[in-house]
């Protein structure tokens, strides 16, 4: 249905900015072609409109008419990211990669770092020049959505991003942590693009963090392509903790090869408007994927999780579990889509979405879809919207726990079904603490890390008034 928006301020800014796009001038020919095609498509289809089924009731429509700043210069490297933004998780070792205002941020942004075992990490702009063979083989191969103007806008306008290559047989010990931040006045439109390649029998833990360090507004349009090779394992964590003025569009496309495994956990703790699209192509027999998410929204925040699982070949398993709490006037959308292609027999696909509404002003739309063309399958989905169990609350309160704490405990239990899946212990503790703080309303943004996360002498516990027991 052609019901897209064709005359928003954002679209006209994008269209008039394209000829001046600096990344376009000396680009790699393959990328230039993709940019040009995407630009033509954007011109043709415009931005998503409210009548587009995939964007219906989305909170993004109302930002399209804001004034956006298109040009952002790479900030000169002054300090390490840890000096700007403290995000130390106790006992959690990670290799940090930074992207500031959409630009790869490092001492020498032109350098592709080589980590242990030959893992390559660097700017996507450099990678296209240094590894044209590898780059051309994978770049732009998945996520070619002809109908979505914002994806086209990313392909046409991405400034920079991260390139990660894990060679065959390499298991990366420490997680790679990408921290994306915005520090720019004037409501910038920031498109960044990541390409991650996991070779055969490799293993990677990748954390993708979107954080705010101030209260400036922005629209971040991120597009990540991940190729998971045969028998490779990917653990993906997305941690989103943005200010209320930010709009984040996070498109992630994962293509899985034979016998590969992916687990993805998406944690949306804060943010003005967040839309996470997660597309999984199960492209090799025996592939497995386990996707889960927690979203905790309040004020007038908006969260939109779109999870597409495509079973393209037989003998693949998928699980999807998303849980959310919406408070105040927050609005949420969950759309799960399991597609089972004809002949993708022996498919097991499960999908679940549970929501808790805290106020009568909060709203959730949940759409768990199944589209199945093979008969020898086991597919199911479930969705619920409800409140905390009154009896459970009563039980706790009867034992001297205040209503407030009892509510927190129950909500914590509600989200722990997802957080308990985090396999790295320190990360799990830290995230569970963040969730506790979030539920108490103490966490707004990672404002210079007021948290200091979990340190053993400062455990975050629920206060229970012993005198009342």
């Amino acid at each position: 249905m052609k019901t897209n928006q064709k005359n928003s301020r954002l679209l006209s800014s994008l269209l008039s900015y394209y000829p001046r796009l600096p990344e376009n001038s000396n680009g790699h020919p393959v990328v230039s072609e993709i940019r040009q095609k995407a630009f033509e498509r954007l011109k043709d289809i415009g931005l998503p409109g409210n009548k587009d089924d995939k964007w219906r009731d989305s909170g993004f429509m109302d930002i399209f008419n804001r004034e956006f700043k298109m040009e952002t210069e790479p900030a000169p490297y002054q300090k390490t990211i840890n000096e700007i933004f403290e995000c130390e998780i106790y006992d959690f070792h990670s290799e940090i990669i930074s992207v500031l205002n959409g630009h790869y941020y490092a001492k020498d942004p032109e350098e592709i770092r080589t980590l242990e075992n030959g893992v390559r990490v660097g700017s996507i702009l450099t990678a296209q020049k240094e590894f044209p063979g590898l780059f051309d083989q994978y770049f732009g191969k998945i996520g070619d959505d002809q109908t979505d103007g914002l994806k086209a806008a990313n392909s046409a306008f991405f400034k920079d991003g991260v390139f990660i290559y894990v060679p065959d047989g390499v298991e990366v010990k420490d997680a790679l942590q990408l921290i994306k931040m915005v520090n720019e006045q004037g409501n910038p439109f920031i498109a960044s693009r990541n390409l991650i390649i996991l070779g055969k029998n490799s293993k990677l833990t990748f954390m993708h963090c979107d954080d705010s360090i101030n209260h400036l507004s922005s629209f971040i349009n991120t597009f990540t392509e991940i190729h998971v090779g045969e028998n490779a394992t990917l653990e993906l964590y997305k941690l989103q903790n943005l200010n209320d003025e930010s709009a984040l569009l996070n498109n992630t496309f994962i293509r899985q090869g034979r016998n590969s495994r992916t687990s993805a956990i998406v944690l949306s703790l804060n943010g003005g408007k967040i839309r996470n699209e997660l597309h999984i192509d199960l492209n090799g027999e025996g592939a497995e994927t386990d996707l889960s998410g927690v979203y905790l929204m309040d004020k007038e925040q908006h969260i939109d999780n779109q999870v597409y699982v495509n079973h393209l070949v037989p003998h693949c398993n998928s699980k999807t579990l998303y849980k959310g709490v919406l408070d105040n006037k927050a609005t949420g959308i969950f759309r799960g889509y399991i597609y089972v292609k004809q002949d993708a027999q022996k498919t097991n696909a499960f999908q679940k979405n549970n929501n808790i509404l805290m106020t009568s002003d909060a709203r959730i739309d949940t759409m768990p879809f199944l589209e199945i063309y093979a008969d020898d399958v086991k597919c199911s989905h479930g969705a619920t919207v409800g409140q905390l169990d009154d009896e459970a609350l009563f039980y706790l309160m009867q034992r001297g726990i205040s209503r407030e704490n009892a509510t927190l405990l129950l909500m914590n239990a509600f989200t722990s079904e997802v957080t308990s899946k985090i396999s790295i212990e320190p990360l799990k503790n830290s995230i569970e603490d963040m969730i506790k703080k979030r539920l108490r309303g103490e966490l707004s943004i990672c404002d210079k890390c007021i948290l200091h996360c979990t340190v053993p002498d400062k455990p975050v516990e629920f206060e229970i008034d012993l005198s009342k027991i």
Partner: protein, 484 residues
């Protein structure tokens, strides 16, 4: 035991038969020329001797329809419909008003006898009052006297327009306005007849009311309109059945059904839809694009939709409930079976508006052959609908590796006191169950029939007795030959 044996014989008999309602009756017809324009609408209105306000309604709907676009969001595919290639009015030639059964065209009676529908009141078909609509015109309504005793009005829509214009004017278009969707607008412009039912305050209808629809003439579309009103404390159980001849070209059926239930009223609407589904290659068949909606207007009112969808080349319908009155209840029970190249996109809409409203959705889809069967449903809890409760269960069964089964639920919740649950499963017939049956000497086809019937039982149980038996037989016929 005896009953069981009899039942099995029946099943066997029907599984070996083709679409048995595919005959054409040779009845003299009065038809309008092909095509659609304002003159045709004026012609229909004139033929039916309608008041000016109704003609105005039709013309308004037509002008609105011209501005609309055919919807394309459903999970169905069909070649574009040429709306100018359809006859919008076809009626059995009547000798003015019929006063007794003797005056009915014998050919017509024969048609209904073949369908197993007795119009003869003497035969008293299990105490069901029938309104038979052939092509576009209601030909006969039975049991008028019994109904009149209770002040129940049950007649054809045209009669209602003539005899009870105030009621028609007051309620028509209230549940399904002509602006609602493309096919509802088309229907509002060209509807030819249908049934009208009015249950006065405090009356429980002693018999079940039934309408039987049949498309007979070639190249015609059927556009009937049903309006059911249950006043305070009223109750009615309403049945709808339909068949059509086998023809190579596709025929369009775009009906509108409106139900309005006031305080404490209850309406139960059951459909066994068995339009001609097309042949094994998917040639021909009826396009069944229907808008059905009930409004639970009063407190404690209840509307229950039960449907067994086995026919039609394409089914596109979403019987829905607007739960406006406090404590009102909406129910939807559906079995949709598709075989060969049939396509179904069906489900419901439950819109919770009043307080303490409840809705239940049970949908069982069965796909075989090359067919596609989708459940599409909306549960919306509006901001003021305190303590709304919904439970939905949508199961799909796949019989064959070339068919598709899809589930598209939309759940929109805007109130924190709501409890909404949805679950769905998709699977094929369990090998274990099949093995168990076969081990006991039940052959493959029968075993599948048995399992499918068991699977659909939850819905079939909601149907009135006669309909349940018919529906069971239909399930068996529709699935015949689908075993691999």
């Amino acid at each position: 035991m005896g009953d069981e044996k009899k039942k099995n014989n029946v099943v066997q008999e029907v599984t070996t038969s083709e679409y048995k309602y595919g005959f054409v009756s040779d009845i003299e017809m009065d038809t309008a020329p092909k095509g659609l324009n304002e003159d045709i609408i004026r012609l229909i209105s004139k033929k039916k001797n309608e008041p000016q306000w109704l003609l105005d309604f039709r013309l308004k709907a037509y002008r609105h329809w011209l501005k609309m676009k055919e919807p394309n969001w459903a999970h169905i595919k069909y070649p574009p419909i040429d709306f100018q290639d359809i006859i919008y009015y076809a009626a059995p030639k009547k000798k003015k008003q019929l006063s007794s059964l003797d005056e009915v065209d014998p050919e017509l009676l024969e048609t209904f006898n073949k369908l197993g529908i007795s119009l003869d009141e003497q035969k008293m078909l299990a105490g069901v009052a029938v309104d038979a609509v052939i092509d576009s015109v209601s030909v006969k309504t039975t049991f008028k006297d019994t109904l009149a005793k209770h002040n129940i009005i049950f007649c054809s829509f045209s009669e209602a327009v003539q005899n009870h214009p105030e009621l028609v004017k007051k309620y028509m278009g209230k549940a399904v306005p002509y602006t609602d969707n493309y096919f509802a607008a088309l229907n509002s412009a060209v509807f030819s007849d249908g049934s009208f039912c009015f249950i006065p305050k405090g009356v429980r209808s002693p018999i079940e009311l039934s309408t039987y629809f049949r498309i007979n003439a070639a190249n015609t579309g059927q556009f009937e309109r049903t309006l059911i009103i249950a006043e305070e404390g009223g109750y009615v159980s309403y049945l709808e059945g339909c068949t059509a001849p086998m023809r190579d070209e596709n025929q369009l059926h775009a009906a509108v059904v409106e139900i309005i239930a006031m305080d404490d009223a209850e309406v139960k609407y059951s459909t066994v839809q068995n339009w001609y589904p097309g042949d094994k290659e998917g040639k021909g068949g009826v396009y069944n694009f229907v808008t059905k909606r009930g409004i639970c207007k009063g407190k404690n009112s209840k509307i229950s939709w039960t449907q067994v969808e086995t026919g039609s080349a394409i089914t596109w319908k979403y019987p829905s409930c607007m739960l406006i009155g406090d404590n009102s209840v909406g129910e939807f029970y559906s079995v949709a079976v598709t075989n060969n190249y049939q396509q179904a996109d069906t489900g419901t809409k439950m819109v919770h508006i009043g307080r303490n409203t409840k809705s239940t959705i049970i949908s069982k889809g069965i796909s075989a052959g090359h067919s596609n069967n989708s459940y599409r449903g909306l549960v919306r809890v509006s901001k003021k609908a305190e303590n709304a409760r919904n439970y939905s269960q949508c199961d799909s069964l796949l019989l064959g590796d070339k068919c598709g089964a899809h589930t598209f639920p939309y759940i929109k919740t805007g109130n924190n006191t709501a409890i909404v649950e949805h679950e769905a499963t998709t699977s094929k017939i369990s090998e274990d169950q099949l093995f168990y049956c076969q081990q006991r000497g039940i052959d493959m086809e029968k075993a599948i029939g048995l399992i499918v019937n068991g699977y659909a039982k939850q819905v079939l149980n909601k149907l009135p007795m006669e309909f349940a038996i018919e529906a069971q037989k239909l399930l068996a016929i529709t699935l015949e030959g689908s075993v691999g």
